[in-house]
């Protein structure tokens, strides 16, 4: 799994839309193409990037490959958010102290 590619994968609007579609439920590549108006190779490439980023996982079912959101990928976004959501309140407490010291 390539951690660095996680946020890059979601920076592309089409990939982001594909990811958000998958967030509503699993689908195969041809089902996903409905409503996107992109070629089969383009869809494959986008899905490949999402899978490579660990955001989407694939599962073969007979002739079809099903794609679904990988909860672990969402978890990594959550970790980044959580880290800074805890970081800023303590930085702001320090800023409050600096402001008090500036009075003196």
């Amino acid at each position: 799994m390539d951690d660095d590619s996680l946020f890059r994968a979601l920076a592309d609007p089409t990939r982001r839309a594909i990811f958000e579609r998958l967030a509503t439920g699993p689908s195969n590549a041809s089902g996903l193409r409905e409503g996107f108006g992109i070629s089969q190779p383009a869809m494959s490439q986008h899905l490949g990037v999402l899978v490579g980023a660990g955001l989407v996982r694939q599962e073969r079912e007979g002739r079809f490959v099903n794609y679904e959101v990988d909860p672990a990928g969402i978890g990594r976004i959550g970790i980044w958010l959580g880290r800074y959501q805890a970081y800023w309140p303590s930085r702001m407490a320090d800023l409050g102290n600096v402001l008090k010291e500036m009075d003196q």
């Binding site: 920076a11 800023l95 402001l99």
Partner: protein, 107 residues
């Protein structure tokens, strides 16, 4: 789902003073250490109202982000400080037409 952090904090100090504390490196270093930044210098400044720094997560995979501090009077002599932090992504040339361009994720 969003990769943007938005937070708001209030201070009794007036906006002019908070502005100095967030924009002058000597003060900024005392509450936002340079070790957490890519560079000490701001990447964007709107004099008196907004300053942005590029940050680098200390934990792997060391995601880079831009944080903006927006300063406004709270109407009671104090300051409302808004923090907006967004992940910065380098778009890989292979997957996108806009080669080598740096962009930020929208909220």
């Amino acid at each position: 789902m969003s990769e943007t952090i938005e937070m708001e904090f209030c201070f009794d100090a007036p906006p002019e003073k908070v502005w100095r504390a967030v924009s002058i490196a000597q003060y900024r270093e005392r509450w936002l250490p340079g070790a957490d930044l890519v560079q000490d210098e701001p990447v964007a400044v709107e004099e008196g109202s907004a300053v942005s720094y590029r940050m680098r997560d200390s934990e792997p995979p060391h995601e880079e982000s831009v944080v903006t501090f927006q300063i406004a009077a709270d109407g009671a002599g104090g300051t409302r400080l808004e923090i907006i932090q967004r992940i910065v992504v380098e778009v890989p040339a292979a997957a996108n037409a806009n080669i080598g361009e740096t962009m930020m994720l929208a909220a």
